[in-house]
Symmetry: C2
Subunit: 290 residues, 2 copies
Amino acid sequence: MSTHTEPPMTETHRPIIGVFDSGFGGLTVLRALLSTIHGAHFLYIGDTARLPYGAKSRATVSRYAVESARLLESRGAQLLVIACNTATALALDDIRAAVSVPVVGVIEPGAQATAAAIRSLLPTPYSLLPEVLILATAATVQSHAYHAACAALGLNATEKACPLLVPLVEEGWTNHPVTREVIRIYLREAFAECTPRGVLLGCTHYPLIHSAIEHEVRALDSHAVVVDSAQATADAVSRTLASLPIAAQLTSTPSTFECLATDSVEKFQRLGSHFLNQPIPSVTLLDLGG
Amino acid sequence: MSTHTEPPMTETHRPIIGVFDSGFGGLTVLRALLSTIHGAHFLYIGDTARLPYGAKSRATVSRYAVESARLLESRGAQLLVIACNTATALALDDIRAAVSVPVVGVIEPGAQATAAAIRSLLPTPYSLLPEVLILATAATVQSHAYHAACAALGLNATEKACPLLVPLVEEGWTNHPVTREVIRIYLREAFAECTPRGVLLGCTHYPLIHSAIEHEVRALDSHAVVVDSAQATADAVSRTLASLPIAAQLTSTPSTFECLATDSVEKFQRLGSHFLNQPIPSVTLLDLGG
């Protein structure tokens, strides 16, 4: 595992994959990427000085996300992963227009994985449009990006903003009565509007409360499948990578990674290790001028 | 009430007072300022694109706060109010060094008001150092600025980080069982460490849950006086203003105000009116380059 700012010189030809998030949540995606893709080098930026993006406007989120995407490209990234639902929802087109490398977001892979999971459980042929519930931040919900992605896959999505879940996860209350009560309130409000066959965790923080959400879904007598988009995104990145010339440089050795953050590197190491589920040996402070 | 970007030309000589916060919370201070000071014009900046400051590092908060302070001075502010506990705790000295007008923060006035309230309730002479509990964001607590301000006034402060209270207020759950339960948990943890005579609300969001906090303090069998720093700060600004030459330009007409925000002006109008307790007729979008 490398933690240098530059990719390891002894492995200069490893494909470099840039991963971007507003903070720590995208580390759940990096975790899935590290276990799915071998022989690559991941360069992760957490824009912690300006997090969270979830309550900010499209223009602001787009400006921030494009800056990070350009920086990743300038540091050699040959493929970009927007490991942030809000940035994918509000800025994917702007990011694709701003860089010249392929860009993978988290929303389409998440919607596709949910559609696949639901269809595998439904009788065939199934005539109704299956309902799916998206739990996400306010900004992601307001963008209706998940609704559009699900509609394209023949799913009828209800989007529910859950603004308290990120702060609860960041407080470390991942298995706490208050968090379960908040999840229960949000789910009850959502289930009053729909009867979903699938519940998609549309925020990269939510994998840390996956089991609490699943528990409350069951408590509401629902058999809905609960899907998080981290693994789905890693699979999509793997497929995109396979189609690029740099795939020839992949080896079977474990992938390496390095982390850059725009705010306190100590906090990034401490909090981030919970999301990545492994220690983060060092973090480089990055000034994006914000 | 004026909402123009420039102060009203018919009242050119009104003293201009700049008020700065990371978002909406400082509007509880503006509210107290408007009811305390007449004949002035208030220029409020909410740095909503980069909020919240409460979880960010000293260097980042200082950089953001100095930018806003300089902008307020360049727009004619003759006195600055840092209506943000985190920015006062982490950046007051940097702000004072960066501008040439007087600067009032929220921490010293809040500590002074708490000391006065406690002493008015204590037998004289009282030999022990009275204990006070500060509820605040993580960054404010880590700075220990309240501990220092209280120590200078002969109070022994215990500082308690309450990171979930701002998101709960912003979710609108100001009178909600979950918010009361979270307050109860934080207070119980704090009361295990101290037996306070006063509880100081060290965050400008907390006046909106003042009565819920007071209720839970009483439920713990405490007679501690609960103080918020908004009115204390307005009184301190009034005293500072009285000592400046521009005081001669004050009239008895109601003060006017205008708001600038770095993110969505619609959201600022909508959420901000709860904090200001009156409609915000218009908001100007401001680009601080972040």
